[in-house]
């Protein structure tokens, strides 16, 4: 019997298996950031041990950094202390840090791929659930808690049990105006926010194969929102083309050797999955969430479920969620006013996302009563946006291009959406209070968000663009 992509990588990383228990699982690359690492370093210090393989650890500051005036000291004391603790810990343990002011600084899941650190066949972890993003390159990448960060720092290993395997295939051609964020929001609306718990998910099918790396990352990024241990896509020419020539990518003979190995990384034709889901690309329309978990999504032309469409058992959470969002059961979502537009986060802050937004808003201006924040995923994305003149398009549209960080994705810094306000956001979570206490979040694609920025309300992008203006991605 053939093997799945997951199994091929898993098998290579098992150091040993405990009888009737988990496996000792080896980690190739470990990303760390300021929020989930301090207690792990404190643990090492308490034990009097050093980081085991510092050259396999890469650090950045992203979660609570300010996105304006990054050259100034961080005003918020606790944030500053965390960023300083990271600096000190990295220096003490010999870890490379791309901190504030470094040309490589940015959201951890944006910088790994863009620097060529993220490669097929690896195992990658980080104390952040969206580590699943890296799986777009055909590796096993997942988020871990701080105790596990400590384990990996101390031994480069974790105790892991093998998850079940699921394949989600999306075949066919995407409709115009439908981008990768819509695909993943659609999957979530079909299988719910816990539909893949306990599974490693491989995304496959012709619609996935047609996507760029940036777009694939958006999908794997949100696999954690289905509860999946990790999300992955088999590497192909698009993957290899993206990696080649990047800062830490292999080169020369090393490249040829790696490439030959990477080409073996796919699920064999006779590999067996514990669960298979098939989706037709044609069924997907531009999506938006109306509730307080990412599984509560609908097509923009649809309506919030009516009470009689909701399972009896789910009614209490459904009603609580709508009360929080200030929405009525059965209401249309189209035409709903928004106050803020946030384009950013590790889901949609890459150069391709910014290009997509710029392509649509060029020559247009934002609605008067809407505030638009654009937060690039990294210093490199920011630099490229400026080189391409995208910053000027944004400025002319009345948008603010801020500096890289997680920003309003989780509102740990000062970028918070005020209580009661509606924000259409390209991030990945619409939980209560995620973007600030009592903030209300609609998750959508960069295109749908850009449209809302111009009109001030939720709209259907398909009605707006003329044939060539938008590229599917």
């Amino acid at each position: 019997m053939g093997q799945t992509l997951f199994e091929k990588i898993w098998d290579k990383h098992v150091v040993k298996t405990i009888d009737g228990g988990p496996s000792v699982f080896y980690i190739d690359t470990h990303f760390i950031h300021e929020v989930t690492s301090p207690q792990a370093f404190a643990g090492l210090n308490k034990r009097g041990i050093k980081v085991f393989r510092p050259q396999q650890v890469v650090a950045t500051a992203d979660h609570n950094v300010p996105t304006l005036n990054q050259h100034l000291p961080i005003k918020e004391e606790l944030s500053r202390l965390q960023v300083e603790a990271l600096k000190k810990n990295c220096a003490e343990h010999g870890i490379e840090l791309y901190g504030l002011g470094h040309p490589f600084q940015g959201i951890v899941h944006v910088i790994g791929p863009e620097l060529g650190i993220t490669q097929p066949g690896m195992t990658i972890v980080c104390g952040d659930s969206h580590t699943s993003t890296h799986g777009a390159f055909g590796n096993i990448a997942f988020g871990i808690g701080t105790s596990e960060v400590e384990m990996v720092l101390a031994t480069q290993c974790l105790m892991q049990s093998k998850p079940k395997l699921m394949r989600i295939s999306i075949d066919g051609k995407l409709n115009k105006g439908v981008v990768s964020k819509d695909i993943v929001l659609y999957i979530l609306s079909q299988i719910t926010a816990s539909g893949a718990t306990g599974y490693a998910v491989e995304f496959a099918g012709s619609a996935i194969r047609s996507l760029s790396m940036e777009a694939r990352m958006t999908i794997c990024n949100m696999s954690i929102e289905m509860g999946a241990r990790c999300g992955m896509i088999a590497p192909d020419e698009i993957t290899f083309g993206y990696i080649k020539g990047r800062k830490f990518a292999p080169a020369g003979a090393e490249w040829d050797k790696k490439l030959a190995y990477w080409k073996t990384l796919y699920s064999d034709a006779d590999a067996v999955f514990d669960k298979e889901i098939n989706i037709k690309a044609e069924d997907i329309e531009p999506m938006i969430t109306y509730g307080t978990n990412p599984g509560m999504g609908i097509g923009v032309s649809g309506h919030v479920p009516a009470l009689n469409e909701v399972d009896e058992k789910e009614k209490p959470s459904f009603e609580k969620s709508l009360a929080y969002m200030g929405l009525q059961p059965g209401a249309n979502i189209k035409g709903k006013k928004v106050d803020y537009v946030f384009i950013g986060s590790c889901t949609n802050s890459r150069i391709e996302d910014l290009r997509m937004v710029a392509g649509f808003v060029k020559g247009k201006h934002k609605a008067d009563d809407v505030e638009v924040w654009i937060v690039p995923g990294s210093k490199q994305v920011e630099k490229q946006a400026i080189e391409e003149g995208i910053d000027k398009i944004f400025a002319a549209a009345g948008f603010i291009l801020r500096q890289p960080g997680c920003s309003a994705c989780l509102g740990m810094n000062e970028d918070k959406i005020p209580a009661g306000k509606y924000c259409i956001s390209t991030s990945n979570r619409n939980f209560e209070g995620r973007q600030g206490p009592n903030a209300r979040t609609f998750l959508a694609s960069p295109l749908t968000a850009a449209l809302a920025a111009i009109t001030g309300e939720v709209g259907d992008i398909r009605e707006y663009y003329s044939k060539s203006e938008l590229v599917n991605n």
Partner: protein
């Protein structure tokens, strides 16, 4: 923090809500500490207080009801989804709980809980509803969680259900061992593995 877990007998606090995510358990703005202690104070912060004001507890939130006490938290389906932040497990443990019961846990949360000697007990949807009913009817209902024999029971009625936990984790909890203690003890094997392994 009590590191060993064996048999726990206690009243319980019900939280009958599905999809409780880690942002609710501990909102992101409280993640700025650099130590593991003190998160219990902000457990379920935004559900507990009106407008973030500690002098205005929300009366209908179960953790605020004086009738509900104990070291067992009984929660509805898909508990702990969302972020990988271990602060959620710290906050629950620091808030005085040793056990969380649900019919379904998010993966990362479950691992984080186990790493902090907070025992996640997965029960059937049926048994979960029985627990909620028993606690709501009489908040003084005692629940027993027996790790050595792997069952959970409602003491007064004797109704019980067994639960799964892998042997390795069970041994860790019963003896108060960490994964990290174990991994450090096999460092040589790890180094040997590395010699054969190319990244």
């Amino acid at each position: 923090m009590s590191k060993q877990i064996s048999i726990i007998r206690s009243t319980a606090v019900p939280l009958n809500m599905e999809n409780v995510d880690t942002d609710q358990i501990i909102p992101a703005r409280f993640l700025k500490a650099t130590s593991r202690e003190g998160f219990g104070k902000n457990l379920f912060r935004d559900w507990r207080y009106e407008n973030d004001d500690e002098t205005k507890p929300k009366r209908d939130f179960s953790l605020n009801k004086p009738a509900y006490r104990g070291s067992i938290l009984v929660a509805a389906k898909n508990f702990g989804c969302g972020s990988s932040r271990e602060h959620a497990a710290w906050a629950i443990k620091d808030g005085g709980f040793d056990v969380v019961v649900s019919s379904f846990f998010a993966d990362i949360f479950k691992n984080n809980a186990l790493n902090n000697f907070l025992l996640p007990v997965t029960v059937s949807e049926d048994f979960l509803q029985k627990l909620f009913a028993a606690i709501e009817q009489n908040p003084a209902t005692e629940i027993e969680v027996n790790l050595p024999e792997q069952y959970i029971s409602i003491v007064s009625s004797g109704e019980k259900e067994s639960f799964d936990i892998n042997n390795y984790k069970k041994t860790c909890l019963l003896n108060g061992y960490d994964d990290i203690d174990y991994l450090l003890s096999i460092k040589e094997e790890i180094s040997n593995y590395e010699k054969e392994h190319v990244i």
